[in-house]
């Protein structure tokens, strides 16, 4: 795609900035990519989730994890990719101690998918979408982790944990279609949201389950060829991705402005100094010597299998957002909020189904439920307040059983105890008094004990009515149905 230009936010206004992102996402599976070891390594003692295969023992062989392959293809379908019938794994050869076999099993020229696209919020035009091409989504294996240690005597050594080695890793390669750092951030959020919607990855960046490398280059406006590309690594938050790209744009612009030329290289983002530094020059770049993995047969994905996987796709964030806005008549902001996660959207729709009041459900969720999640740090499916609870509360309000004033108290009790709002109202006697007889007495008392207000009302002072309603409510400790109280007062005063 050619892309529209958003020079406004760019610190490199004399040049067009070209950005392409490579996202690595760990795939959620029970077992690792090529062996039966558990892939849930988080929190496990070092080197406890290992076997001859993921340790790269002599003679060990990989066996493909079908679930990871399906997760990759489903992701590719969600990113509008083509799924070729014939695919294969390749070996990417390089030497590093965290690489158990001396090569990584990856995919080179025939990946599981290619030529897709993704739409994301245009940060320069709120409410508008931008589209970026997806080059490919392929599957590979994660490496072990190294920890470099310096002991008290100053000696340095490295510790290795092989638990992570062989965990399936999906690589989503984006086309160089992004033009600003903010677009990169928006694109990343869209990718993460889709991965989470599909349930194929936790996509948590701080846990290392979601990583991003950025390819950044500059070119004079109007020039067709790309400038020399710099690959930036080591960003460990969305914020650092945006900051690293912004830094790199300025650094490259300054070099070009000074008449220099950009060196094609790999640079690392140093977060505490907020700069990028040279890691590896093009001359020192690896020749990975890719060749087809002889230990794994090629993978054939017939069209029928692609269609079966496509049928498993859930409604994606974008579609859901549009449907919410249209079907429930909500603003795009509210629709956006309610579709943040698939679980929240489902919570909303279940509440609507049970309460038949979308507007109330949206209000309660965007206001109170999200506040509860924010203060407790809990996930939507972890709180005691289920859609059934919320729907119950909404119905109590809609039928006039409780007043708007008592609702927050009921909600709080339901959140804390998990009791149904109906039961809470009953136990605490919080129901509105709509009993005409009981209220008639309270109304008569109020009229009798407030002659001045009655006189004022009869003299035409509108505020006097409010005073009398307040007196009745006080007498019924807030449980009087305000509409009914009004009606009864008028009857007795006017009658």
């Amino acid at each position: 795609m050619t892309g529209t230009h958003h020079a406004g936010t760019s610190p490199a206004t004399d040049y067009e900035v070209v950005i392409g992102l490579e996202v690595h996402a760990q795939v959620v599976t029970e077992s690792k990519m090529f062996c039966g070891c558990s892939s849930r390594y988080s929190g496990a003692p070092p080197n406890t989730l290992v076997c001859p295969v993921c340790l790269g023992m002599p003679g060990s062989l990989p066996v493909m994890n079908r679930t990871a392959v399906e997760a990759t293809i489903i992701t590719a379908l969600a990113l509008n990719c083509e799924i070729p019938e014939f695919s294969k794994f390749d070996r990417k050869n390089y030497n590093y101690p965290d690489l158990m076999k001396g090569y990584q099993i990856s995919q080179f020229d025939l990946p599981f998918s290619q030529a897709g696209w993704l739409e994301f919020d245009d940060p320069a035009n709120p409410g508008q979408m931008r589209r970026a091409g997806i080059t490919r989504v392929h599957l590979e294996e994660d490496t072990a982790t190294l920890k470099h240690v310096r002991d008290s005597s100053g000696e340095t050594y490295s510790l290795m944990d092989v638990n992570r080695a062989g965990v399936p890793l999906m690589e989503i390669v984006g086309d160089p279609d992004l033009r600003t750092a903010d677009e990169a951030g928006s694109y990343l959020r869209a990718v993460r949201q889709i991965l989470r919607y599909l349930g194929v990855s936790t996509a948590n960046m701080d846990e290392g389950a979601f990583r991003c490398d950025a390819n950044v280059s500059l070119r004079p406006w109007g020039q067709a060829e790309y400038g020399a590309k710099v690959e930036v690594k080591n960003m460990n938050s969305f914020r650092s991705v945006v900051r690293a790209i912004e830094f790199e744009m300025v650094r490259q612009r300054d070099i070009l402005d000074a008449g220099g030329r950009i060196v094609q290289e790999t640079r690392g983002w140093v977060d505490d100094r907020a700069i990028t530094v040279t890691q590896r020059s093009k001359e020192a770049a690896h020749d990975y010597r890719y060749f087809p993995e002889p230990d794994l047969p090629p993978i054939i994905t017939p069209a029928a299998e692609v269609e079966r996987l496509r049928s498993l796709l859930p409604e994606l964030p974008d579609a859901k957002r549009h449907r919410f806005a249209n079907a429930y008549g909500m603003t795009s902001d509210v629709a956006d909020t309610l579709t943040q996660t698939r679980a929240l959207a489902e919570y909303f729709e279940q509440t609507v189904n049970l309460s038949d009041n979308a507007r109330a459900a949206a209000n309660w969720i965007t206001r109170d439920v999200l506040r509860i999640l924010g203060t407790t740090g809990a996930e939507i499916d972890q709180i005691l307040l289920t859609p059934a609870h919320l729907a119950d509360l909404i119905k109590l309000l809609d039928t006039g059983t409780i007043s708007v004033r008592t609702a927050p108290e009921v909600l709080e009790e339901a959140v804390n105890t998990g009791s149904m709002p109906r039961e809470i109202v009953q136990q605490r006697g919080l129901g509105q008094v709509s009993d005409t007889d009981a209220l008639t007495t309270a109304v008569a008392d109020a009229i009798a004990s407030n002659p001045k207000a009655v006189a004022d009302y009869r003299a035409g002072k509108a505020t006097a009515m409010g005073f009398l309603v307040g007196a009745v409510m006080k007498a019924t400790r807030g449980k009087g149905n305000p509409g009914l109280v009004n009606e009864l007062l008028k009857q007795q005063l006017d009658g």
């Binding site: 340790l55 790269g56 158990m100 090569y103 020749d287």
Partner: protein
């Protein structure tokens, strides 16, 4: 635990006796696997005495042959005792088919708790925590493991001189090589140091040493036998296979090890036929293809003569001979020496001292320690092939070398497909020459590589091939006949090879070195006669 055999002369059934099979000498190391099975099941011999016989033969001949990197005598005797318990049960015939039969394993099969070096110093001290699938299957079949056989380092070689430990000598002439890379496995069976052995064949590494040592050696179809736990040389070519005296022993081993393995995605999901049920069906009507291209210039006249005589013998048994053409086989060697080193350069990357084996701990820096480990641990041949393979896969050269080689591979395969449209097996020499003198080709890699010119195309095409003894040249050195089969048609190879061996006696001839040991061996063997509960060599001969 005692040997549960019947006392001599008190066999309950009128079956073949021990004396009938083993002969007056009583040398159990001369038994074929089916003979040993028969005697064990009928309790004419015990597994313990058979293990003692084989271990005794190792003790007597090993200094001349040097077949082993590791001899596992204690483990073997323990396994033999367990086998005797099983054979002592109510139905010894129901025991697993290799119960109590001594087997040598090429030292690249991972064996739980027993050092596995692949013939390389870089794996010295590596004790695998797991069994290769084939080892596990042999274990389940009751085999007794006598040791880990010597080999060319990482199976790279044709003489077993490239071992990082010591060369192995040909039992027929200890000044000559046994072939390779499975030279230790071939020599061990030839010298009676094991009844059976297991090797691997990437370009001829089973068939060529089988030919040079006058034993039967089978390279099964790629995908027939699991490679899990087999130290990899060239993954798309490596295949595990047996050595035996006599064809039936190889059939017994293949029966035990063949079949799909969930741990090896390249194994084929096909059922394994009962090989011994068709092995005696003869060759009447069998169509044998003879490719002119495999009788090359540079072939020793005796080799060509003996192979052609062998084909003649098969026709006299009812087979028919048809000329076939395999023109692309000429490029087999070149193709192989791109693909195999390319895969090897990658397969050998994992040996860097970080996880197992040799580690250059004197180096302070991580990267330098990895480099130094590889510099010190690998011998010249692996280094040569790592360089060749790295070059062939390098960016800018991939298309000209690796991709081109894969294309030629397809053509070589197509040649065989064409030929097999009109024949059932293809007959050729195994090696253009008999066993050569030690050191004769060590300084000339290309001459060494040419040892496998007739076997390599079979690996490149992924087909099964068997080497059977077909005579001796004018110096008394063994020659082998190669029979190549259709994919997954090992049954026909066994049938043809068995018919040939039944009509000849070459396979029963033993190297003098093995026989020399007999006078001594027979004393012990007789002393351990059937019914000797201790199974030890302490008693006087009774014959």
């Amino acid at each position: 635990m005692g040997a549960p055999g019947q006392p001599a002369g008190h066999t309950r059934h009128m079956h073949v006796t021990r004396e009938h099979l083993v002969g007056i000498s009583g040398d159990l190391t001369a038994l074929t696997a089916p003979e040993a099975r028969d005697l064990l099941v009928r309790r004419q011999i015990s597994a313990t005495e058979l293990a003692h016989a084989v271990l005794g033969q190792i003790e007597r001949t090993e200094s001349q042959v040097r077949s082993f990197i590791t001899v596992t005598a204690d483990e073997a005797l323990a396994q033999a005792r367990a086998a005797d318990v099983a054979l002592g049960g109510s139905d010894p015939g129901a025991t697993p088919p290799l119960t109590g039969i001594p087997v040598a394993l090429k030292d690249l099969f991972c064996t739980t708790g027993v050092q596995t070096t692949a013939g390389s110093r870089i794996l010295e001290g590596f004790i695998p925590p797991y069994d290769a699938t084939v080892v596990a299957r042999l274990r389940a079949a009751g085999a007794v493991f006598v040791g880990k056989a010597n080999m060319d380092e990482f199976a790279m070689g044709s003489s077993t001189e490239n071992s990082g430990y010591h060369p192995t000598h040909n039992p027929w002439d200890v000044s000559r090589v046994p072939g390779g890379s499975s030279g230790g496995s071939a020599a061990a069976v030839s010298a009676g140091q094991a009844i059976l052995s297991l090797g691997t064949d990437t370009g001829g590494s089973i068939r060529q040493p089988a030919s040079l040592c006058s034993v039967t050696g089978l390279k099964p179809t790629y995908g027939r036998v699991s490679r899990y736990g087999v130290v990899a040389f060239a993954s798309s070519l490596d295949q595990v296979g047996p050595f035996s005296i006599g064809v039936e022993g190889s059939a017994m081993v293949l029966q035990a090890i063949a079949g799909a393995d969930p741990m090896d995605a390249t194994t084929a999901p096909f059922a394994v036929p009962d090989y011994r049920s068709t092995i005696r069906d003869g060759v009447k009507g069998l169509r044998i293809g003879v490719p002119a291209e495999y009788f090359t210039a540079g072939m020793e006249p005796d080799v060509e003569r003996l192979v052609r005589e062998a084909i003649q013998t098969l026709t006299s048994l009812g087979a028919t001979v048809h000329p076939v053409s395999l023109p692309y086989s000429e490029h087999g060697l070149a193709t192989y020496y791109i693909i195999a080193p390319a895969e090897a350069s990658s397969n050998l990357s994992r040996y860097n001292g970080i996880k197992y084996g040799l580690a250059a701990l004197d180096e302070v820096d991580m990267t330098r320690a990895m480099d130094a480990t590889r510099q010190r641990g690998f011998g010249n041949e692996p280094k040569r092939r790592i360089m060749l393979g790295t070059y062939a896969l390098s960016s800018g050269y991939y298309d000209a070398y690796y991709r081109k080689a894969q294309q030629v591979r397809t053509l070589i395969k197509a040649d065989f497909d064409n030929a097999f449209a009109s024949v059932d097996v293809i007959a050729s020499p195994v090696s253009p020459t008999v066993a050569f003198k030690m050191g004769a080709r060590t300084d000339d890699p290309l001459a060494m590589y040419l040892s496998d010119v007739c076997t390599i195309p079979v690996n490149v095409a992924g087909l099964p091939g068997i080497s059977v003894p077909c005579g001796f040249d004018h110096q008394g050195l063994p020659v082998g006949l190669q029979l190549i089969g259709k994919a997954f048609d090992e049954a026909t190879l066994f049938r043809a090879a068995f018919a040939y061996e039944e009509a000849t006696s070459f396979h029963r001839q033993r190297p003098p070195l093995a026989e020399q040991a007999d006078s001594e061996a027979s004393v012990n063997q007789a002393a351990m006669g059937a019914g000797n509960a201790a199974g030890g060599p302490q008693r006087a001969p009774h014959a």
